[in-house]
Amino acid sequence: MPTSASELVGWADTLLQGVLLGGLYALFAMGLSLAFGVMRLVNIAHGDLIVLASFAAIALGLGTGWGPLAAFLVIVPAMAALGYALQRLMLNRTLGGDALPPLLVTFGLSIVVQNGLLEAFSADPRGLGAGGLETASIRLTSGIAVGWLPLIVFAVAAAITLGLERTFGRTRYGRAFRAASDDPVTAELMGMSHRHVYALAMAVSLAIVAAAGIFLAMRTTVAPSDGPGYLLYAFEAVIIGGMGSFWGTWAGGIILGVVQGVGFRLDPGWGILAGHLACLAVLLIRPRGLFPRTRG
């Protein structure tokens, strides 16, 4: 029981910040959820690709002096193209049989990206300046302030989730994604080249990863070895939220953000651990996640 009004306010603030952080985690998770959903691909390099985008944005800023908006305009399409090439040239070849090759290839990729970044940038954490946006905030009450950046990230995450839901549910490409996921061979008979469809899905996945990475670098500092940690957050958000649903993944991200925030408040060493435990708990109680897509 909170013993004073200020403690209550403190908890409210923790919850609010957790929700906003959850927006970022939802962004992390969305690309992973897409790749899982369409290709059943577990991309172990997912977190490292987020960090790659962060450092690309940082390098772009250092090299050109342009602000974060430029980073979005340049890096999001660049990583989409990278995603298409990666899937088409490498990952497509590993799919459709044993579970082992895609895992091992993406694990190798993870190592290459992490250490490549280490070589290029050293192990020090870096951040991306956002011209004051990082600290700008709206003061709600005396104890609670909402940062503009976390708010924007939250809104972008929701918008992307909505966009994905709409695309999958109502468009020609969305049907192609779902059909190729259900039955790639029969999808070929309809004229859908599953190689192309999978590559498109990966392109979208990495475009979202790019946005996540850029926002990450604005919100906090990033180090080359941070990748695996973010992979685990993304994964946990997908597990908590449930299989097959983008809004589920979004909710999973929010919940993870809140759980981590609460855990952190209770004991700084327990923040991340609380997230892991929450994921395992959901798995035990509701193996399909909290908001799985039910058919029909």
């Binding site: 020609r172 049907r175 779902r178 059909a179 999808a187 008979l189 309809m190 004229g191 859908m192």
Partner: protein, 233 residues
Amino acid sequence: MSPLLETRALTAFYGDFQALFGIDFEIDAGEVVAIVGANSAGKSTFLGAVCGLLRVSASQVLLDGDPVGGLPAHRIAAQGIALVPEGRRLFPSLTVEENLLAGGYLGRSGEWNLDRVYALFPALRARRRAFPEALSGGEQQMTAIGRALMANPRLLACDEISLGLAPVVVRDLYASLGDVARAGLSIIVVEQDVSLAQRVSHRLYCFQEGRVSLVGVSLSLTRAEISHAYFGV
């Protein structure tokens, strides 16, 4: 006039196992041709080879005189060949209507669209938002055929559409296919039921262990001839 689809000495393998040993086949525009034969005679394999699901040599399959053998399935679909696969293979996460729309993915021009498919199969209109697992066998088959028609094909290949369905349902399906054929679409029908195959087709092929054992005008073939070719005895 060259046939719409022609295969010359078509051979096909599953790994090391040879399934087809030199099939010569042809179908003209507007024809309905039936293929009969025992299980594993190579009927489905033949359709798979024609539709690009199996590796074959380029010159072994000719569409309008152009070699299309060995093209990937999605390219052959773009050329106007649509397959109603054995077992229907509807997409489980798509509704009936979405399955139909998926069939029209390539956007080939022609007279087939959602309304025309629903006109052909009125029962589907009521079930348009249902998922395949909730449909009866007959409804699933209608959806599968409708999905293939949505591609506006020049050639429709139907693999054992009567399998698992009640005779009255099969009769209605083939009546609908008859309407479609009369409108000018070429159809290859692979069937287990020989007398049904004879009734619905202009010409009939019999396959036996990966080879053509009989070919002729459907109505002129005798029961004895077909039995002989079917069983190889």
